[in-house]
């Protein structure tokens, strides 16, 4: 606050404690103040609306007295705040509103339907003024007119308390024309009578309204600030990584000084300069040692606090679902007016917390579903009564916490349900279903059709079936969050939409690396350093690979080995003396270097659980869906190090200890267009100790065969582009490949096919239906 104290020039003398005039303050400060005001005002409006709605529901006369008092005080505070920042229009409107509430407080006025409508309209106007989107053109009253309308509500002096027209109802009433469809005419006939100044609340004896005792204290934080904090915390993580690197450099310098001292001590003769030199270096060495110690301590502290901070920020981002529910009662009220329905809304589970970004993103889908429920789901009161239902419809919105970090949001209405017959018919008309299509016989099969974009954007479905456009968009928005939507309906009775959403987007920064066939993410917090090394810099100590990093000797572990997959590119690279990327991982007080195929960069990833089945794995904490839709594993740093060390000690069953094995591993190419077959074949053959590459069809396979050497090909026959017979023929015709053994694995089990395979030059022909793991491996062993 640069000029805050200086700008407090003159105190307002009208007695509003929270207001003071600001004159001549600098522009920047004023803008900042306006920003703060906008946030505060929005809060006030939300509270006023909430109070109004419950007042409208319970009835002014029967409702608790504190409610009116609370609304009144909120309005008063808003007025004061508006005055403080010089927003005269808002202040004026608040003044008018305050007068109405004041009259209500004193039982001089009981608002009827018309009155409530006018008050809601006033709040809309205030919102519009606040957002700067107010337009006083056609139909919508300007602030001055609105004040007139509000004044028109109140009884003239001398008149008695009017009998309220409004029935006390437990539901939000439908808007009915005969209760006064329009606001009273605004004109000169309404006397602009001066309003009595509202009595000021006398601080001490009036407790703060609305706030429940025991309610947690809340602090308002701008979303942008929070996001910035989030980004800062990430930057801090990056800084921590580079600090680690600096520390390594310092240790390197220390090592060099040590070496100098050793040599100096070895040289026998010593003149005066050298003696001085020795002392000098000795001091330097000691100082540097102290410095390194200090940095190590700082680094440890930083490590800890950055971790806690990042976690804390992630937690701050969580908000109660109540913030999402906030706008629902008002929306229901307006929509039921619009569509002439009577609707009660029941909100449950507001205390459950979820990521602010999730709640924000689901706001529109929620409103859309509520609108649908009121527009198409809930019947008109007369229809409802005729079918034996209560005249008012009920929308139940329920939030519930689920296992695996998901929340469900259910939007249920007790309306007429989805007209599935029409959905079927329209689906047929639009060609989503073929006539006589038997795959969609049950209702459960038909319901998902409502999410089809073609179907739901069709106007036919809107008018016929009762579920409008935009369900496809709801589906998309929820899916984009990593959630799902399902619908269920009971004809004539109810419709429910279940939205399943992640509690947290829990994005974190990770290093994406390639290791064998895997792409995997290493949490950036655990990555101390990434560097390139060459084969010549890798030493073997006691049969274990080690690498020098900044003066320290670290165990070097092949990531692909730790993940139990073969390292596709390794062999060729090692012989070529190419530089290999190494990722240094620190976790659980241990440090190790991991050889990866490629570092694909650091990026923000959204972590998903592995589902309820894969409860706990030592090396994998979750997965993330990459941009191309494929799944990458999110790795556990401590698990990787432990497993790496275990493998290094020879505690693992052979297949990953390739470093020590003298005999080169044989390489098999599996060609198969079906992903399940491919994975199964690959697992079987890999399990027998081969290196397996895969190709999706003959052309893909032939390209790979040209690129590197294989010892055997296992191929499917029936494949797109180039089938197994053609591939075999091509291999036999190629001068470099003619001797390559080919095993055909096929579902084609006729004599002709068998003969065709043999004619093409296949060495073995295995029929899938009689496929046997042992048999395949035996054939492979025999051929190589």
């Amino acid at each position: 606050m640069t000029s805050a104290s200086g700008s407090r020039r003159s105190l307002d003398t009208t007695g509003y404690d929270e207001g003071y005039l600001m004159t001549g303050m600098d522009q920047g400060f004023h803008e900042r103040l306006l920003g703060i005001f906008a946030g505060e005002a929005a809060d006030h409006l939300v509270t006023i609306t909430r109070g109004l709605l419950s007042l409208e529901k319970s009835g002014v006369a029967t409702g608790e007295p504190g409610l009116v008092e609370g609304i009144y005080r909120e309005t008063h505070s808003l007025k004061g705040a508006a005055r403080a920042v010089g927003l005269r229009e808002i202040e004026g409107v608040c003044q008018g509103l305050e007068a109405v509430f004041s009259a209500m407080k004193k039982d001089e006025y009981l608002p009827d339907q018309r009155g409530f409508d006018a008050i809601h309209a006033t709040i809309d106007l205030l919102s519009a003024l606040l957002s700067g989107k107010a337009s006083f053109g056609s139909g919508s009253p300007n602030p001055a007119e609105m004040v007139q309308v509000l004044r028109g509500l109140l009884p003239r002096k001398g008149e008695g308390v009017p009998v309220p027209h409004r029935e006390v109802s437990i539901s939000v009433r439908p808007y009915q024309g005969d209760e006064g469809g329009s606001l009273p005419p605004v004109g000169p006939s309404v006397q602009p009578a001066p309003f009595p100044s509202p009595p000021l609340p006398t601080g001490a004896d009036s407790p703060p309204p609305m706030a429940m005792p025991g309610e947690p204290r809340m602090v308002r934080v701008m979303a942008e600030k929070l996001d910035r904090l989030h980004a800062d915390a990430d930057d801090l993580l990056a800084a921590r990584i580079s600090l680690g690197a600096r520390l390594e450099e310092m240790k390197g310098i220390l090592a060099r000084i040590e070496e100098w001292r050793m040599r100096a001590a070895q040289s026998g003769r010593m003149n005066e300069f050298l003696a001085y030199n020795k002392e000098f270096i000795g001091r330097l060495h000691r100082d540097f040692e102290l410095l390194v110690d200090a940095v190590v301590r700082d680094s440890d502290t930083l490590e800890m606090s950055v971790g806690t901070l990042a976690e804390g920020i992630r937690d701050v981002v969580l908000q109660p679902v109540a913030t999402l529910f906030e706008m629902v009662p008002r929306a229901v009220r307006d929509l039921s007016h619009t569509f002439g329905k009577t609707v009660e809304v029941v909100l449950t589970g507001g205390e459950i917390e979820a990521d602010r970004r999730v709640l924000e993103a689901v706001r529109d889908p929620l409103i859309h579903l509520v609108r649908n429920a009121i527009d198409h789901g809930i019947e008109a009161p007369a229809v409802r009564v005729a079918s034996g239902k209560p005249p008012y419809g009920t929308i139940q919105i329920t939030a519930a916490l689920h296992e695996g970090g998901m929340i469900t949001l259910s939007i249920a209405d007790d309306g007429g349900g989805i007209d599935l017959a029409s959905v079927r018919r329209v689906a047929l008309e639009l060609g989503f279903l073929a006539p006589g299509d038997s795959s969609l016989q049950t209702d459960a099969d038909v319901i998902p059709l409502i999410f089809r974009s073609g179907l739901s954007t069709s106007s036919i479905i809107t008018t016929i079936s009762g579920r409008g456009i935009g369900l496809a968009i709801v589906y998309e928005k929820v899916a984009a969050l990593g959630g799902t939507v399902v619908a269920d309906t009971e004809p004539g009775r109810s419709t429910v939409f279940h939205l399943s959403l992640p509690v947290s987007l829990s994005t974190f920064r990770g290093l994406l690396v390639a290791a064998g066939v895997h792409r995997a993410v290493i949490p950036l917090q655990a990555v101390s350093r990434v560097f390139l090394t060459s084969r010549s810099r890798i030493a073997t100590v006691e049969n274990r690979m080690v690498v020098e990093d900044g003066g320290a000797t670290l165990p070097l572990i092949t990531l692909a080995g730790v993940l139990g997959v073969t390292d596709r590119a390794k062999d060729s690279r090692q012989t070529a003396g190419e530089m290999m990327p190494v990722v240094v991982i620190t976790a659980g007080g241990e440090r190790a270097a991991f050889l990866v195929d490629e570092v694909l960069g650091d990026q923000e990833v959204v972590v998903r659980g592995l589902g309820p089945q894969l409860k706990w794995l030592s090396r994998v904490s979750g997965a993330t869906v990459l941009g191309d839709g494929k799944v990458a594993l999110v790795l556990k740093p401590d698990g990787l190090i432990n497993e790496g060390i275990r493998i290094g000690q020879g505690g693992r069953d052979g297949n990953a200890s390739q470093e020590e094995t003298a005999a080169p591993l044989l390489r098999v190419l599996v060609v198969e267009d079906s992903v399940t077959s491919r994975v199964l074949l690959k697992n079987i053959i890999e399990g027998a100790g081969f290196i397996v590459d895969t190709a999706v069809d003959g052309i893909d396979a032939f390209t790979l065969l040209k690129e590197k050497a294989f010892d055997l090909v296992v191929s499917d026959v029936d494949m797109p582009r180039m089938n197994g017979f053609s591939l075999t023929e091509k291999i036999r015709a190629d001068p470099g490949l003619e001797d390559l053994p080919v095993v055909l694995v096929t579902s084609l089990d006729s004599r002709e096919d068998r003969e065709h395979g043999i004619a093409a030059g296949a060495n073995a022909y295995i029929v899938k239906s009689s496929f046997d793991e042992g048999n395949l491996l035996e054939v492979i062993q025999r051929l190589v």
């Binding site: 296992e403 894969l614 494929k630």
Partner: protein, 207 residues
């Protein structure tokens, strides 16, 4: 129970069983629906009570026919990509992404120790769900939906090990083996906790 996605048209279900008729029998859709409505509206007699028949999703695995109770099937998917996961037993084929979520995939043949009898190539996955558990099982093909009359179910053969018997409700003539999806989902050995017990499950009968 509802489907997230519908069965695709090339694996359309067909309904068999008492009184339900087959849609591909040539009669018009209207006539079929009408007859079915009549059937359904008919008062329940001792001979034909609705609780006597249950809907099963029928699929084949290794050239043998199996079925799971439809109420445990949340959807049928095609998988495009499978990521293998280190530290999992062999019956876990890997994981796949389904609309942003991660689904683990189970090879029931390996779980039940059926080493022979073909390999899956249809990329089809039947997603089994109950309140607590969810995973996909590989299937060679989806045959359709069958109404199975309880009284036509034969008990699993006595030669079956007690463990194997737990996962089988019975056998219908055909033969069609009815998996007990409920107990497969609830099976503690299906849950993977690395370093924990590795499952040893009795073999299924050769039918």
């Amino acid at each position: 129970m509802y489907f997230n996605t519908s069965l695709t048209s090339d694996n359309r279900g067909h309904v068999t069983g008492s009184g339900m008729g087959r849609p591909d029998s040539g009669e018009s859709l209207d006539a079929l629906l009408m007859r079915r409505a009549k059937d359904l509206a008919a008062p329940l007699t001792e001979e034909r009570r609705s609780e006597d028949s249950t809907a099963f999703l029928e699929f084949h695995l290794a050239r043998e026919r199996y079925a799971v109770e439809l109420s445990y099937v949340s959807e049928v998917l095609f998988v495009r990509d499978i990521t293998s996961v280190p530290g999992t037993p062999p019956f876990i084929v890997g994981i796949t992404g389904v609309r942003g979520r991660v689904l683990s995939l189970v090879d029931l043949k390996r779980f039940f120790g059926l080493p022979t009898g073909g390999i899956t190539e249809s990329n089809r996955v039947v997603v089994l769900t109950d309140a607590k558990m969810e995973f996909g099982i590989l299937a060679d093909g989806i045959t359709g939906i069958s109404m199975v009359d309880r009284r036509s179910v034969l008990p699993p053969p006595a030669t079956l090990s007690p463990i194997g018997a737990r996962f089988i409700m019975g056998i219908v003539e055909g033969p069609l083996i009815l998996f007990n999806a409920g107990s497969i989902l609830a099976e503690p050995m299906m849950v993977v906790i690395e370093g924990g017990e590795t499952p040893k499950v009795g073999r299924l009968p050769k039918v």
